[in-house]
Amino acid sequence: MKNKQQLALQDALNRRVFRGNSSRVMGTAALAAMLQSDRPVSAVDVPQAHAGLPGLPHFVPQAKRIIYLFQSGAPSQMDLFDPKPQLEKHYNEDLPDSIRKGQRLTTMTSGQSKFPVAPSIFKFAQHGESGMWLSELMPHMAKVADDLCMIRSMHTEAINHDPAITFFQTGNQLAGRPSIGAWASYGLGSVNQDLPAYVVLTSFGSGRPNDQPLYDRLWGAGFLPAEHQGVKFRNIGDPVLYLSNPPGVDRETRRSTLDRLSALNSKRFEQVGDPEIQTRIAQYEMAFRMQASVPDLLDVSDEPKHVLEQYGADVNRPGSYASNCLLARRLAERDVRFVQLFHMGWDHHGGLPAALKGQCRDTDQATAALINDLKQRDLLKDTLIVWGGEFGRTVYSQGGLSKTNYGRDHHPRCFSVLMAGAGIKTGTTYGETDDYGYNVVDKPVHVYNLNATMMHLLGVEHTRLTYRYQGPDFRLTDIHGEVVEGVLA
């Protein structure tokens, strides 16, 4: 009977089913398959968080979770990680064509009559047993140098922020594909039933407070079921709104309301078969559980003073990068699969020295503290940390160059990324750039390769986590990507 009813509703299948998974509209067999979905649709079964796909992880993972510290705007590699002392003697000289090799430039500098070489004014030194080079702007990171792996040979194709961040997040420059955290959530599921598998925390940089914005689609689910999209905590005011019930509504009332709502939604699902209705039910349930789990997560009154002090004074300011780092550790303790911080303000087209100091003040101490804190709690061994932006910055100055001031435009051909924690070969500096810090000369690492490596550490063979949409089987790494064995322990 039920089956007959379902068949009668075949025409009512909405566009999402039709476009999202065309095999589901091919006829009776497909509809039967849909009914065999392992997801509960009845109101009496309270849906649990997505448990991951069968067969995943593909192999024993090194990392149970990722904390991805995305530095939005693109930090200058040659002022922080990739020293080029020999550039001193080329100060203010025009960038040679033999180095630029016809590279396309953004329209912010393509009209410049001169491309004056701007050596970094910051001092570099070697740190730790490994002798890793780091700029004086990162004194705290210098102390954890032996826990880091530095990739100096990153490169990308995009030259402006939106396509470049979108590329890092989704493996495509154009919007619409699922983000890396959504793929992780879809493939591996949630460990913690009471928190989302993918949590996003954002913070404003003090180096360039009005830098270009972030947008929620960067952590979106694309064509994956919407329950896998990142859940962003707000950085101003309450991180999660409406955690408490309104006056007169207790938890039991809320529960019974949700049960009724869920029954109505399930009924509608039986009528139209739109999987997004199941997502809606699941998200209401997640919100209900978060009403209980989030206050405990956010209440840092149990943190000892010495721990808070490690992260620096900013940790007491909710929504700061430091405060988000502490929250990231608390999320890691609660087994949230994918925590992604976005720190804005790294886009230093002009006034770079002052702006970069501000950004490093925001992030240096707290990042090092996060690594130490996880280590002390024995969580670093199965937590992967990644620190980096969407591209690098040019060796030539954008606008005026002086001995104390310069700016740098976007540069896709080389930049640096740091990794630490689970499965990472620490104390390693991987890859090499030319004397101008303009081109990669050894062991290039493309965005696809970094993403493949992150998925590898989570126990996912990146070529085998796919989703069929409008015909092709899509994946995070498109048709590219190789695991960077050289950064693995």
Binding site: T106, N160, Q212, P213
Partner: protein, 185 residues
């Protein structure tokens, strides 16, 4: 019914890049809803959306219908390379036209012939040539950041506004006539 078509046609009253600033495309939306409501035949529905502006003596309605090809995103990011986004915009039109009218994805063939896909790379760029003939920049105009539309645009006054406009124009002409009347007549 129109809702499905609006989705396929990537309709939105916003530009789709970065913080997704607003623009007005609702006139095209209204045209689409009306097309369903007045049961416009599918051949007309197709012709007017793909090339309504090229019809002989195209009406304002037919030009608005061609807004289908203006539903693409517009990049207003500082530093964007105009030629790059012009090409992306053309590709967007090829892909959308392929998906909506031919029921075929035109994505793989942008870069290569695919052993299963019916459209070759060569055919992709033959289709590309149709949409490549247009002189729109493909990027957001400076005024577009403030929520205005990027050229080319069309004014979509209501019949009431048209009547009021005509009345004011008459009034203006009368006033001008009066002002120009030879003194001392």
């Amino acid at each position: 019914m129109a809702l499905t078509w609006l989705d396929y046609a990537r309709y939105a009253d916003s530009n789709g890049y970065q913080s997704d600033g607003s623009r007005d495309m609702w006139a095209w939306r209204d045209w689409t809803i009306n097309a369903y409501n007045r049961n416009l035949p599918f051949d007309q529905f197709t012709i007017q959306q793909i090339a309504g502006d090229l019809l002989p003596d195209a009406t304002r309605d037919q030009i608005i219908a061609t807004g289908f090809n203006r539903n693409h995103r517009l990049n207003g990011e500082g530093g964007r390379i105009v030629e790059e986004w012009f090409v992306e915009t053309v590709i967007d039109r090829v892909e959308t036209t392929g998906l909506t009218w031919l029921g075929l994805t035109f994505n793989c063939c942008r870069c290569h012939d695919h052993k299963y896909a019916p459209i070759t790379q060569r055919e992709f760029y033959q289709m590309f040539a149709f949409f490549n003939s247009n002189d729109e920049s493909g990027v957001l105009a400076p005024n577009g950041k403030n929520g205005d539309n990027t050229e080319p645009t069309i004014s979509v006054s209501t019949p009431e506004q048209d009547a009021e406009l005509a009345r004011l124009q008459d009034q203006e002409r009368d006033a001008e006539d009066a002002a120009n009347w030879p003194r001392g007549h």
